[in-house]
Symmetry: C2
Subunit: 303 residues, 2 copies
Amino acid sequence: MLLETKGDVLREAITRTQSEIDSLFDALLPVPGDTSARLVEAMRYAAIGGGKRVRPLLVCSTAALFGVSRDAALRAGAAIEAIHVYSLIHDDLPCMDNDDLRHGKPTLHKAYDEATAVLAGDALHALAFEILADDATSEDPFTRSELILTLGQASGMSGMAGGQMMDMVADAEGVVYDLHAVTRLQQLKTGALLAAAVEMGAILGKVAPQGRAHLRAYARDIGLAFQIVDDLLDVEGDIEKAGKALRKDDAQGKQTFVTLLGVERAREQARALVDQAELRLASYGPEADVLRALARYIVERDR
Amino acid sequence: MLLETKGDVLREAITRTQSEIDSLFDALLPVPGDTSARLVEAMRYAAIGGGKRVRPLLVCSTAALFGVSRDAALRAGAAIEAIHVYSLIHDDLPCMDNDDLRHGKPTLHKAYDEATAVLAGDALHALAFEILADDATSEDPFTRSELILTLGQASGMSGMAGGQMMDMVADAEGVVYDLHAVTRLQQLKTGALLAAAVEMGAILGKVAPQGRAHLRAYARDIGLAFQIVDDLLDVEGDIEKAGKALRKDDAQGKQTFVTLLGVERAREQARALVDQAELRLASYGPEADVLRALARYIVERDR
């Protein structure tokens, strides 16, 4: 019963955030009257109407702990989602993962073309920083700078892009990583941006860096659990539900949490991480229920 | 004699800026100890030791009008150069312009591979904003935000990326632009970033937006002159000196300032723009000599 209620809390929060982020991207991406319209249309195709919006949800739910206005949290959420969407567009390119399907529809380079996909990714990347730097927001400049630095570091060479390169080197050169290296790779590739989402919520809440330690630990735990479950779903998931290609790790002979730990131990590890993530939130009351439900959802999801 | 002296002023300023920007990138791009090293090596390959560094020179020379510290100007210069370098990497990709040569050496996707080129471009893009947002700089947060917004807008969908898309649509769909459309395309594609360089120098100098009008006009004039001369060099230039492929516009049957105006009128137009650009600087004394020489150099260069 309690679980069901928590599930409802989460479902509601996800649906609300999805709709708000869609509206915000719609407003941020007006189609111009010249031939650059094609660029903005491609950006809209990729950015609007897809995905669970986990990162904006993390920003908003963390920010809500500290009474941050919904508008401010959503803008930061849209910025980090723009980074996430750009990274998916570029990852899907033929020279990268060469994927045809994303969120149940053709990937951007399939629906448009490769050059448009490169460019739309780049423009969404710039948009993220435009959103955060815009002085029309209510945020003070110091907060804006801190948000931008956090997002830049999480997405750049010491974050997502660095992790992506570790992954590519393994694929291309057949480097076999051990558990330690796979953990580090995933912490960079997907963990850094999830952690940035939580961090940005706390920055908006004016929490001093030393006061963010337990939230950072929560984010680290769910980030790792998220990736372990992704690896499990790649082996056991339903392609219809996933809306993207599966069984790719195995086909590539790649080391993942599942190949390194086995299905059972991987699942146990994900559960343990989520239990631990919930403990990190012990100092909060019901106001952290969405964050708790989100952690739980990560291991229970089937796509 | 006067021209020679101005030439020396410029040569000195270019050489100094090249060496300082190289040192700064060297410090900003330490090679990590893990397999993401390949990413940083690729970023260094593209970012260090190439190019005239026109954009950093514009930032530094404009900032110098207002007594801005050289360090602060160079950091902003490195940020805008990181954007310029990332855009060249992505433009050179096989799905875009498919170029093999840049600054006289193999393009990044030739020296490494396409996936690495996409990713290194992305990481340099993020680096630009990391540099500007870093609170280790002496800039106040308000100035940092303003620099970031200026750079984000100049490089994103309403700037460089938008212009690039206009260009691609012309190539792909055979849309024939008139002079007005080509002018707008170029103002977005190359003009926006050159204008941002001057604007960033003025922002660092705490010049209020209304006080930047003449500098913006200077930047607009030299930006357009720069592109007209680029089109002229594509027709008349020496490939050895250029260090990149030429005669591409003609091969593609593309409308340029040269096809629209003819060689002679295009050259006259470039000269008139540079004269006008110099007039924009009439309120400054010798402290603006580098900006004047740079405008002059733009029409006189042979590569």
